[in-house]
């Protein structure tokens, strides 16, 4: 079974480009050019240079000794939290801004939920001196004030999404509408492995640096390139896609995906799309989607603003449906406690999104000889208010 996108943009039955005709020229231009641009030697050189000198790559693969002792297995952390801007998001925004420049685009738009992708986009736009507009739900703007301020400092205009539920999915709708209204000079930097083809594949390829590094780093530390398991949290699924990419066709590597269960999968306040979703179309992509029986998209919930997306990237829908990926759901409480535990055992405060991935250690029993690589996709600085409130610190 293949886990690469096919020529029509599908992973199994998921993916495609369900877009209004108004977006066709832009998306088609991207589809025709993204692979050849990414393959150009000077593109690769510039991309790799920026990842090294600006982002700070390679990010370390760290053997978590005390965590490993506690769970009697070998746990490695892929330290995406140490990237510039504090998460894996910047790998993709660097790639897409270089692509946008080669497409001759003069204006960048992006959507953001918690603000991490918005900050990563505003950062690369500042770096390149390109106009940047970030759409963000009105409700998210109110609860993520520091990231809004960061984007403004970086020169981006933050436009509130006032429609629908005024959160991430509505910010995405607004960004798409902006692109419809500005079809010639604008590139839309989508932040996750979602959207119409070629976005899921393009974002996955930019993020695949994560698993590329894991391979050689693990070879140095363990004498083998393949771990027994790779673990990542999934909202739309960009850090997971990058973490899995080079292991998708290595059957001995177990792929573990961790979704946010919120207050419990069946509580009505959850973002566990693989459990609660049905096949549907959102933001140009056929995938698993949380929706009413009437096909209206529902609002997910998670304590982590980066995981509360009602869909999941089409690659992940395919991993879930085919059984290639093992999907877990982690509640707010379990994620928060896993985050605190990582802090106490290893001295690392994770983003609440990433904390979900660590809670899997309590749900699945690994063997003492297993090598388990967990993607630590972001740092917890942005979540301090949440940690303070939750633990009454």
């Amino acid at each position: 079974m293949s886990f690469n996108v096919n020529e029509k943009g599908y992973y199994g039955e998921f993916g495609g480009a369900y877009i209004p005709e108004m977006l066709y020229p832009n998306v088609e231009e991207l589809r025709q050019k993204y692979l050849s641009i990414m393959d150009e030697p000077d593109f690769k050189a510039e991309f790799n240079q920026l990842l090294k000198d600006y982002v700070g790559r390679p990010s370390p693969l760290y053997f978590a000794k005390r965590l490993s002792e506690k769970y009697n297995t070998k746990v490695y952390l892929k330290r995406e939290d140490l990237n510039h801007t504090g998460a894996h998001k910047v790998n993709n925004t660097i790639g897409q801004i270089l692509l946008a420049k080669r497409l001759g685009k003069k204006r960048i738009i992006a959507e953001t939920g918690a603000g991490q992708h918005g900050v990563a986009t505003a950062t690369v736009c500042a770096l390149m001196g390109i106009e940047c507009i970030v759409y963000m739900g009105e409700i998210d703007i109110a609860r993520q004030a520091p990231n809004v301020a960061r984007m403004k400092m970086l020169g981006a205009e933050v436009r509130p999404a006032l429609s629908g539920s005024r959160t991430l999915k509505d910010a995405t709708n607004e960004a798409i509408r902006d692109w419809i209204n500005n079809p010639v000079d604008t590139h839309y930097i989508i932040g996750s492995a979602i959207g119409p083809h070629p976005y899921p594949d393009m974002v996955t390829r930019f993020q695949s640096i994560i698993s590329e590094e894991i391979k050689w780093q693990l070879k140095e530390k363990e004498g083998r390139e393949n771990p027994d398991y790779v673990v990542a949290c999934i909202g739309g699924g960009s850090n997971a896609a990058g973490t899995y990419y080079h292991f998708l066709h290595e059957p001995e590597v177990g792929i573990i995906a961790v979704e946010a269960a919120g207050k419990g999968v069946d509580s009505g306040h959850s973002a566990a799309t693989s459990k609660l979703g049905k096949v549907g179309v959102i933001h140009g992509c056929k995938t698993l989607l949380m929706q009413t029986t009437d096909g209206q998209i529902t609002e997910p919930y998670s304590i982590s603003a980066g995981l509360d997306y009602p869909g999941v990237g089409p690659l992940h829908a395919h991993l879930a449906q085919s059984g290639r990926g093992e999907f877990f759901s982690v509640t707010d409480d379990d994620a928060m406690n896993a985050g605190l535990q990582l802090t106490k055992l290893e001295g690392i405060i994770p983003a609440i999104e990433s904390a979900h991935a660590f809670a899997v250690l309590d749900q699945k029993k690994f063997k003492p000889t297993d090598v388990v690589v967990i993607s630590l996709s972001g740092r917890g600085d942005k979540d301090l208010d949440n940690y303070i409130e939750y633990f009454k610190l």
């Binding site: 020229p25 509408r177 933001h283 096909g295």
Partner: protein
Amino acid sequence: MILGQQKLLSLSINPASFTKPCRYKSLKKHKNTYKVLKTLQGKNILKMNRITQKLGEDKKILSIYFSAGYPNLNDTVQIIQDLEKNGVDLIEIGLPFSDPLADGPTIQASSTQALHNGMTTQILFDQLQNIRESVKIPLIIMGYFNPMLQYGVEAFCKKCAEIGIDGLIIPDLPVDVYADEYKSIFEKYGLINVFLITPQTSDERIRFIDSVSNGFIYMVSSASVTGSQSGFGDVQENYFERIAKLNLKNPQIVGFGISNKETFNQATKYAKGAIIGSAFIKHLSESGSRKIEEFVGGIR
């Protein structure tokens, strides 16, 4: 069987095969075509489809869009009847969706309100169950793909055919996917699917869309979501003229940015008709579902 139907449709509604001066009137004159149709199939799709008949009339088409379930859940039938009574030629009934990404604020708001009012696909079908007892003009359902996918595309089409819906407009179902996966279902139920083109659509793609279409082409006036602009300039004028010169087999009806008599006349100078959506919804918001006469009367 299905192949036969496809052939039938492209054969039957291909105005390019008729002489140009009587392009739209000519359909009725081609008795031979009807005979062929009747021979090929028991019921005559062309004769039954009201859209094709309407397009054959020698007049500019005024089409009105509204969101079903807005302003009140049960206004749907009354609005349709009033629009017909006041001389509207074609109606697009909006099936509300939570995330209408090609629509501007006016239609978004009416769609959201309709959902708050309790509108669902099934309720809309129930409301329209007996619509053909009172309404003769063509009716199109315009909606996003996901609610149709959840209802089941075939079940949805079947229900539309039973009620007497003549066509569908689904902005986020691209022509390529339609042609590959759904065309045969639409044709089985005699439904016309309408595709959009924009000023950015290449001539080559317009010709492809024209080849897949069998009713009219929805010509988006400018690069925008719905309800975004007022008035047309030289850019639109040139675009309308460029499309007219392509001599497509399907007539074009212009939508987006048409709000009054002036823009209606500009749009229909080259095209067969024009669609008004946001401006009518604004009228409904201000005047309720009454005074439709006033609105339509102001257009022509």
